[in-house]
């Protein structure tokens, strides 16, 4: 076990391992590219839907069941399926990661909107705000902490799951895990896994810091 940790440390710290197109630095960049683009795409799709459902109260059933469905959908199966349907391209990676993130963001956005006190909304209407103004000036700011929680959760899941890119031969940090598994090279597998875990934690902390920055001086409703 100690031997393994020593080998792992030297794998992670060897300069040769970090440079070049197959190096750790390049793999981290690939991993980040998939994760960031997928999360952004998911946010662009999910945020308006979640806000609309929360604001109108229509489709709440959908918002609520979508999260359950999203959690039940096996990502490995999805990536395999899209790969077999569409052939070798980076699409299966993005489709699967977006499908993973969208339900999380929609459900949390809806939950944030639904948690806004109806009396607050009535008061906003009472002082003369119109529907859209209520959404942008009252509901959205109040729901934002929970919305950010959703984005954070989705990001962590996407970063952690982006290892599947390597499954359909598109690099990222999953490459080390899959190559290591195929070559029975445990050090490489552990190295890749550790890097993904660190990346996920860092992404989570970064978004957490951003959230705190956004809500400085506000009551702590964000969890």
């Amino acid at each position: 076990m100690l031997e393994l940790l020593k080998n792992l440390a030297s794998w992670l710290t060897s300069p040769a391992q970090w440079s070049g197109p197959e190096g750790i630095a390049a793999r981290i960049l690939e991993h980040l590219e998939y994760s960031v683009l997928a999360t952004l795409a998911a946010a662009v799709i999910a945020l308006p839907v979640g806000l609309l459902i929360g604001h109108t109260g229509r489709g709440a059933f959908l918002a609520v069941n979508l999260s359950s469905f999203g959690r039940a959908l096996p990502t490995v199966g999805l990536v395999t399926l899209v790969f077999l349907a569409g052939g070798l391209s980076v699409w299966p990676v993005y489709v699967s990661l977006v499908a993973l993130a969208v339900p999380v963001i929609i459900t949390n956005t809806y939950a944030g909107m639904a948690a806004v006190d109806p009396e607050v909304k009535d008061a906003a209407k009472g002082v003369g705000l119109r529907g859209r103004q209520v959404l942008w000036q009252v509901e959205l700011p109040l729901a934002l902490p929970l919305i950010m929680t959703g984005v954070r959760l989705a990001t962590v899941q996407v970063v952690a799951t982006a290892t599947i890119a390597a499954y359909v031969s598109f690099g990222g940090l999953g490459r080390y895990v899959f190559d290591g598994l195929a070559q029975r090279d445990l050090v490489q597998v552990l190295g890749g896994a550790a890097l993904v875990a660190v990346l996920a934690v860092v992404a989570d902390l970064a978004l957490g810091g951003l959230t705190r920055l956004l809500f400085r001086g506000r009551p702590a409703t964000a969890r």
Binding site: M1, L4, A60, V64, S67, S68, F69, R71, A72, L73, P74, T75, V76, G77, L78, T80, L81, F83, L84, A85, T107, N108, Y110, A111, A114, A115, V156, V159, A160, T161, T163, Y167, G174, V177, G180, L181, L186, V189, L190, G192, A193, A194, V196, A197, A200, V201, D204
Partner: protein
């Protein structure tokens, strides 16, 4: 992409076997998760200084990718079902611990005080008053943990214990979509049925909460 419908009846036995295999990994993981999460959550609920630590630790477990998790366990537990179960258990912890703490937090202090005033000890108050009242929120966590575990079992197919996930690797290697489709569909179905079963169990366990639909929505919000 064409589906060969004839494949399904031919492989009914295999599918049944893989489904049973799938459950044999997912169900123990959730049960083990509950066994660990309940005492941890009670501890986090009662001993305030431990709260942040317990919740933070279970959160970090969640950020480790599932594939990496199974792999990280390999040196310890080897290529066995235990590896898959332990990995999944770690995943269930974040949901189970958080929901149990939240459920216990939501029990009004007055209820606990009333129970104490009637001469009930702390352990009995916990078992007969607090936990039953927290049950809906705890069960919401159990449902999420169960659905998540059922979906994640397939990742364990890389170490040979993936249940229905075996169909994904099979289809991928042979460039043959039909088993993959059946694997995805069966996983979804399994998760759906397990979720429905848990709803029924919860309904049976909390006779005092039957009726209104308002609590159902609030429950769902917790689950989200």
């Amino acid at each position: 992409m064409t589906i060969e419908w004839g494949w399904f009846p031919d492989h009914a036995d295999e599918m049944a076997e893989l489904t049973a295999d799938h459950l044999a990994t997912a169900v123990p993981a959730v049960l083990l998760g509950l066994l660990i999460a309940l005492p941890l959550a009670v501890l986090a609920h009662r001993v305030r200084p431990l709260r942040g630590f317990v919740l933070g630790a279970s959160n970090i477990l969640y950020t480790i990718p599932s594939l990496a998790f199974f792999v990280l366990l390999l040196p310890v537990t080897g290529l066995t079902r235990t590896t898959a179960i332990v990995g999944l258990t770690a995943y269930t912890l974040v949901v189970l611990v958080r929901n149990t703490v939240e459920g216990l937090d939501a029990v009004p202090v007055k209820v606990r005080e009333a129970s104490t005033a009637m001469g009930t000890g702390p352990l009995r108050t916990l078992l007969t008053v607090e936990l039953p009242l927290a049950l809906p929120v705890i069960m919401a966590g159990v449902r999420v943990a169960t659905v998540m575990s059922i979906s994640l079992v397939s990742v364990a197919s890389y170490i040979g214990y993936g249940g229905l996930g075996q169909l994904f690797t099979d289809g991928f290697q042979r460039n043959y979509p039909t088993p993959v489709i059946s694997g995805v569909a069966l996983t979804l179905l399994l998760a759906l049925v397990a979720d429905a079963l848990l709803v029924t169990v919860q309904w049976l366990c909390t006779p005092w909460r039957r009726g209104t639909s308002r609590q159902r929505t609030s429950l769902w919000r917790k689950a989200a």
